[in-house]
Amino acid sequence: MTYNINEKGYYGEFGGAYIPEMLYPNVEELRQNYLKVMAEPEFQEEFNALLKDYVGRPSPLYFAKRMSEKYNTKIYLKREDLNHTGAHKINNTIGQILMAKRLGKNRIIAETGAGQHGVATATVCALMGLECIVYMGEIDIARQAPNVARMKMLGATVVPALSGSRTLKDATNEAIRDWINNPVDTHYIIGSVVGPHPYPDMVARFQAIVSEEIQWQLKEKEGTTKPNYVVACVGGGSNAAGAFYHFLDDTEVKLIAVEAAGKGVHSGESAATSILGKEGIIHGSKTLLMQTPDGQITEPYSISAGLDYPGVGPMHAHLYKSGRAEFIAITDDDAMTAGLQLCKMEGIIPAIESSHALAVFEHKKFQPEDIVVVSLSGRGDKDLETYINHFKL
C-alpha cells in the first residue's frame, strides 16, 4: 500500500484530470512526457545544478535552540525561506521551466496567491528569456504588493483576476482560461500540487528534494534519517508534499498538515479545506473542497494569501481521508503570534503561510526526545505590512 499516486493519476479516490477538451492536448502531452523527461540524465543534471547554484540548495536544516528549549522538544526548521526568491515555490518553477523548454513552449503563464509562485515563475522566465504572464487576484495584488513589484522588475505581466473572491482560486480560473485560449505555445506552470493529473505528481516530485535533504541532514545531525514529526502548512499543499514526500509510506514518521482557520474554522471566514470540505472537483482535480451543498465553490478566507484557497491537492485529500496525516487548523491570530515569536526568538521573519505551521507548538504537546521538523516554507518580507498592522508595531 502506498500513499503516493497510482498509475491512473489518483491518490486513493482523489486526483484525475477533470479538464475541458480544450485542455486535453496540453495536459496529455505533459502526462505522456513528464516522467520520461524527468528521468533524463541531462534534465536531472540541469535541474540539480540550478537548484544548487541558482536557488542555493541544500536549504539548511536549522536546529531552533531557543524554540526547542521553550517547547521542550527538538525543533528543526527546514529553511526554504533561504531559497532564491524566498520560498519553496522555486523548486517547482525551476523544474517546470526546464520541462516547458523541452516541450518547446515559449510562453509561460501562472497563477499566484501570495505572489511567491508568481515571483518564482517570473524569475525562471527571466532566466530562460521566456514571456511570462501571471494571474493574481485583485485582493492579493493589494496585500502582497512587494511581490507584485518584484514580478514587474523581472519583466512579467501581472494580470488582475477580478471575479469571485478575487484571490487564488480566481487567479487559477483566469490562468486556465488563458491556457484554453493559447493551447499550442503556452505552458501553464501551476504553483502547487493541485490541478489535473499530472500536475500534482509532477509538482510533488520537484518539491521532493525537500524531504530528500531532510533525510541526510537529519542523519548528519541526529544519526537518523527519520524525524518523529514533519509539520507543514497547506494551501494547495506543495511545501507539505515536498516535506512529506520521502516519508509518505514510512508511518513511523508522523505527518502534520496545518490549514488556515482564518477567523475560526466555523466562523464562515476560513480556509480549513479538509475539515470543512467535501469531495468534488476544483481546477481539474477530484479532491476535497469547500463548497455549498449545491456544489458552488465557497469563497475562502485567510489572512495569508497563500493559504486562501478553497481546495487542497489530491495527495492531501487522501492523507486526510486515510488518516495518514493529522490535520490541524490554525487561526489568523494564532499564526501571527507564532510568526512574531519566531522573529523574536530565532531572528527569522517567516511568511504568514509558514507561521501557521509554526503555531503547531501551541496546539500540540511533543515529547522531549521527539524530533519535529517544520517546513519553513517562505520568508516574511512580503508580509511585513500585514504583520506591522496586525501588531500595531
Binding site: M22, D170, R177, I281
Partner: protein, 257 residues
Amino acid sequence: MNRINQKLQEKTNEKLLSIYFTAGYPNLNDTTSIIQDLEKSGVGMIEIGLPFSDPLADGPTIQASSTQALKNGMTTEVLFNQLKDIRKTVNIPLVIMGYFNPILQYGVEAFCKKCQEIGIDGLIIPDLPVDVYNDQYKTIFEKYDIINVFLITPQTSEERIRFIDSISKGFIYMVSSASVTGSSSDFGDVQTEYFKRIANMKLKNPQVIGFGISDHTSFMQATTDARGAIIGSAFIKHLNSEGTGKIHRFIGDILEA
C-alpha cells in the same frame, strides 16, 4: 427517440440555431419564458446553463451572468423546479450545460433521473472528460436516455475525433477555435479550414459549432459545413442591453439577417 436525434435527423436544409443562456439570468424566474420565447422565435435547440461559481471554460460575459444568476438564488433544485412543466409548452431539444461539481454534488444518477423526468435530452459538461464518462457514468446516462455531448477543438487529433464520434450519440460540439466562450466573432482562414477538415471526415454524428458566433454572418459561416451552430455570449449580451423583451428580434436577425 431522443429529441436531439429527432431534431438533427430531420431532412431539411435549414441550419440549426442553438441558443445558450444562463438559467436564472437576468432574473431568477426568467428561465421558462426565455425558453418559450426562443422556441417561438425559431430556435432549434436550447442549452440551459446551470450557473457555476467557477466556470473556467467561459469568458467574461457568461461568467458575469452566472455570478448574477447565483446571486439571484439559482440552484440545481430551483432550476429543476422551474423546468418541471416545461414539456407542456416546449418541444425542441433541451440540453443542460453545467460544470461537473454541482452535478456531482446532486448525484450523477439523481441528476440524470431528474433530467429524464423533466424532459431534458442531453448534458454538456465541459469538465467531465471522455474517459471518466466512459468508465464511470456512461451506463447511468444511457439508463435515463440522457445524451452526453462531447467537445472537439481545432487541436483535437483525428484519432481522438474518430474515437469521440464513436462514443457520441447526439451531436459533436465543435469548439470553433482555441478559446473560452465569447471571443471574437470573425472566422478566418484557419477556422474555415478546420470546419472543412472536420466536414470531410464524414463523421457519423452531426456537428454543431459553438464559441465565437454572434451574428448572421458568423452563423452562416459556421453552418456552411456543419449542421448547426450555438450562440451563447452574444445572446447574453443582448439580454444585458435589451432585456428579455426583444428575443424575437435577436433571433430573427441571426437567422435572416
